[in-house]
């Protein structure tokens, strides 16, 4: 064991000595570069050394802070001070006579980045190595095959290793050795990334004289690899539709849940229900701004957690106010309630427009919700959507618990089934109405918070949701959470599967036609309560 370790150390030391020599040569070339192409050649040389010590030098070059002295010594200038490259010497910048190197432009930068990345592959920090590997995969540098092979052997992290292998395969596609090319093709085929289709297709091209560029076995492998990539892309597309369908469905569910409960309870449609979403989203906006203005930046990420109860309270309060002042007085006149609540929605929209302006406002994702989880190439599940799905599950479970396990829930279910009977049993039906309305509106407010994380927040945010969420209620049936959940997810998934095929507008129309045909068969929805009591 000890023997091996010492051998390894020897190798490393030896290698680093060779590197040191190579690096010095390369740096000299860099200092003497008089044109951009010479600069690029020098950068590639440095990159090929794989010596991490060159990283600050290249970074300085990228920022145009690298200067060369008459003697060919490189200096990194930082304000007044200048550090010598590969040396601990520091000097006043003014005391040196320094020449500018050729200015870095985008062409040079394209060479610089992979070079820096190559060097970073040796970094002890996994995150740095991962970022470097990503960079290399995007722009695989030429002649890096050996360096990559070594890096792969060295690499301990599986994710970085996979990335590096992919990069190596991309480079090896042009390898002169057909066996190596075949291996590379197979590997790329397994990776399933559509970015590899163009280089693979290149292998199938004919020359101008009609002969093929590649031998038949390479061509077969290439077409197989392309087919494999396409197949995996199709699978991913299906999964992506499913995911976005569930995501849409979960938002519809938040919007429809409150509507389903209040519709089941009182038989009225609250046309201002969409505005409860809007109020929830604007509450998030206000909380976000308060955090930005009055609290340290470190606390900003927590604003969403504060926004949730605030949005719930605001929407619930408005809902209760609405119920007490308007809806209660229209009991038994559902069509009038429809119109009155529409009037309320107009008032709310106009008020928000006056307070916050007619333009959309910006709600930023907290850092823990930005980014996403890359399941496969080209298939990223954004954290905000994932979070919403989990959040919705949480909310549904809570609402279910409230309805099934609390006194209010028991009363709500009783009133939903038979209002008069419940009233006779001593249930204060009006109070149940009020609290349920508050609950339903509050849930919509939570939906608004969710919406603010994935879309624009504007005064008309809620307008589009009332019809969709009612469709969910129609589909799922009244008074059963399971129905609402199924309806929402079904509608979301169907929509997302239709959209790529026929476009968003036709998808909407087809869904509507489907719902109309559906209620021909099952007028009471999927989960209908059967029996005599259904018909008032």
């Amino acid at each position: 064991m000890l023997h091996r370790l010492s051998l390894f150390l020897c190798c490393v030391l030896f290698a680093s000595q060779i590197h040191a020599a190579e690096l010095e040569n390369a740096l000299t070339t860099l200092a003497q570069a008089s044109s951009r192409s010479e600069l690029i050649a020098a950068i590639e040389q440095i990159g090929a050394t794989g010596d991490a010590k060159a990283i600050p030098i290249l970074e300085a070059l990228e920022n145009n802070d690298l200067k060369a002295s008459e003697t060919g010594q490189l200096w990194i200038v930082q304000g007044e001070k200048a550090h010598a490259a590969l040396d601990d010497t520091t000097a006043e910048a003014a005391s040196l006579t320094l020449n500018d190197l050729p200015k870095v432009n985008n062409t040079v930068r394209r060479a610089l980045r992979p070079a820096i990345a190559q060097l970073q592959l040796g970094a002890p920090d996994v995150k740095t190595r991962l970022a470097a590997a990503e960079e290399l995969k995007k722009r695989p540098p030429d002649n890096a095959a050996d360096m990559l092979t070594q890096a792969i052997e060295r690499e301990t992290d599986a994710q970085v290793k996979t990335l590096l292998e992919t990069t190596l395969a991309q480079i090896q596609l042009e390898s002169p050795d057909p066996a190596q090319r075949l291996e590379a093709i197979n590997l790329l085929g397994q990776r399933g990334n559509p970015d590899f289709i163009p280089p693979l297709t290149d292998l199938l091209q004919q020359n101008t004289d009609g002969s093929y560029k590649e031998p038949p076995e390479v061509r077969t492998a290439a077409s197989k690899a392309i087919a494999a990539i396409e197949a995996s892309q199709a699978r991913i597309a299906t999964l992506r539709n499913l995911f976005y369908g569930i995501s849409l469905g979960s938002i519809l569910l938040l919007a429809a849940l409150g509507l389903a409960i209040t519709f089941g309870l009182m038989g009225v449609i609250n046309m201002a229900h969409g505005e409860m979403l809007m109020l929830g989203a604007y509450s998030t906006y206000v909380v976000q701004n308060l955090f930005k203005d009055y609290l340290p930046a470190a606390a900003f990420d927590a604003y969403l957690l504060v926004a949730l109860p605030v949005a719930f309270m605001v929407s619930a309060a408005v809902g209760i106010l609405l119920e007490r002042t308007v809806i209660r007085h229209l009991y038994g006149r559902p069509l009038e309630t429809l119109l009155a609540t529409w009037g309320i929605s107009l008032l709310l929209i106009q008020t928000v427009r006056v307070l916050f302006g007619a333009q959309n406002v910006q709600v930023a994702n907290p850092s823990w919700l930005s980014g996403g989880w890359e399941v496969a190439a080209n298939f990223v599940l954004p954290y905000n959507r994932l979070a919403i799905i989990f959040f919705v599950i949480l909310v549904v479970v809570m609402v279910w618990l409230i309805l099934q396990r609390t006194a209010l829930g028991l009363q709500v279910r009783a009133v939903t089934q038979n209002r008069n009977m419940a009233a006779c049993m001593g249930i204060a039906t009006r109070r149940v109405d009020m609290w349920t309305f508050g609950l339903g509106s509050g849930v919509a407010g939570l939906g608004g918070v969710a919406l603010s994380q994935i879309g624009n927040v504007g005064p008309e945010l809620g307008q589009g949701y009332i019809v969709d969420s009612f469709m969910v209620v129609v589909l799922g049936g009244v008074g059963k959470i399971a129905g609402t959940v199924t309806g929402a997810l079904g509608l979301g998934v169907i929509t997302k599967y239709l959209e790529p095929e026929v476009g968003a507008v036709l998808a909407k129309i087809m869904v509507l036609v489907f719902i109309i045909l559906f209620i021909q068969k099952r007028p009471q929805g999927i989960f209908a309560l059967k029996g005599r009591f259904v018909e008032n």
């Binding site: 519709f263 309320i344 129309i509």
Partner: protein, 360 residues
């Protein structure tokens, strides 16, 4: 004779004819015969505005027929109105073939979209008679199919209302698309001639006004005749106790479907009259908000009276014209407040204020 007396009392007949005469003959006379400065003068710009209001009144009549008498609240009548309008608009576009900006046989927007030939559904619209037929037939067919499916599965109340709103929404999105072939966002506009008459000329506008007023008058009489017939009584019976009607041996589906389709036809007619007077038809006419506004006209005037719809559409639209000029920001507050006020405090509408409590 008894039938006439059922429709109106002699006094009411007198009033109806007086108002009709004032509307059909009086306004044009006051416009052409009086001096510009006189108190009685109706200025030229008022004529198409009044014509527009009369079209809205026709819509309100149609709404009242099904909401007031059959108890079906439609939030989708804007679609039938717009479809009638589009049929007329298509005729107007075709009648100016070769006179557009691009001097092409095709309507301008098709040239703009680089379409080479007329889509099949534009065929025949160069014929005025066909276009008018379609203005009534398309809303009727859509209403019939939609109504058949909805009423057959016994969808009623708020369910029906929301589904009509969904229909409106879907069709609006469809018409907003350029590929649908009706001018997309901008709709159809820049009309020039109707049956060879120049739409910009005052005389043409006056004539259109008179035609609209007459159509409204006739439609009112037809509706009054309908609601005072046994048909109307069955319709009201369905509104009040549908199951009882069924157990009396009537099939409510047929009755509702007839009233619903007829109402859609009236809307299509209103739309067709509206377009040449306003000069544009675009998908925003199908916005759900517009259809709901139609309901508030009837609610303000008073449901189940026919007159109420006419009064309400006049009052609300008059207010709208005034507000949007004087206090544009306050209009939505007013409208929202109106929705709430009328439903809470004025369930029988303005007309209800003048009626005895026990007469329905």
């Amino acid at each position: 004779m008894t039938r006439l007396r059922q429709m109106h009392s002699p006094l009411a007949w007198g009033m109806v004819f007086l108002v009709a005469a004032l509307g059909i003959v009086g306004v044009p006379l006051l416009n052409t015969m009086t001096e510009a400065g006189s108190t009685w003068h109706v200025p030229d710009y008022m004529v198409p505005l009044l014509g527009k209001f009369l079209c809205y009144a026709l819509v309100a009549l149609a709404m009242d027929l099904i909401w007031g008498y059959a108890g079906i609240l439609s939030l989708g009548h804007g679609v039938f109105f717009a479809l009638g309008g589009y049929a007329m608009g298509m005729y107007l576009m075709r009648s100016m073939a070769g006179l557009g900006v691009y001097r092409s046989e095709l309507p301008d927007f098709m040239v703009f979209l680089d379409w080479k030939e007329l889509p099949w559904f534009w065929y025949g619209f160069d014929n005025f008679g066909f276009a008018m037929f379609m203005a009534l037939a398309v809303p009727a067919v859509l209403a019939y199919i939609f109504g058949f499916l909805a009423f057959r599965s016994r969808i009623k109340g708020v369910y029906f209302s929301i589904i009509t709103q969904a229909m409106t929404f879907a069709l609006m999105l469809l018409f907003f698309r350029n590929e649908t072939g009706f001018g997309g966002n901008n709709g159809l506009t820049d009309f020039k001639f109707l049956l060879g008459y120049n739409l910009q000329e005052h005389d043409t506008r006056l004539a259109l006004y008179v035609i609209t007023a007459s159509v409204l008058f006739i439609s009112y009489l037809v509706c009054r005749w309908l609601v005072t017939s046994k048909f109307g009584r069955v319709l009201m019976a369905i509104r009040d106790a549908e199951s009882r009607v069924m157990f009396c041996g009537y099939n409510p589906l047929q009755y509702k479907l007839f009233a619903w389709t007829f109402s859609a036809i009236l809307c299509g007619l209103a739309g067709a009259l509206y377009v040449p007077q306003v000069g544009i038809i675009n998908p925003s006419e199908m916005m759900p908000a517009n259809s709901i506004e139609m309901a508030i006209w009837v609610a303000v005037g008073g449901r189940g009276t026919l007159i109420g719809g006419l009064v309400g559409s006049g009052v609300v639209n008059g207010m709208k014209s005034w507000f949007t000029v004087s206090y544009p920001d306050l209009w939505l507050y007013f409208l929202g407040g109106l929705f709430i006020f009328v439903t809470l405090f004025l369930p029988r509408g303005l007309v209800g204020l003048f009626k005895r409590k026990d007469s329905a």
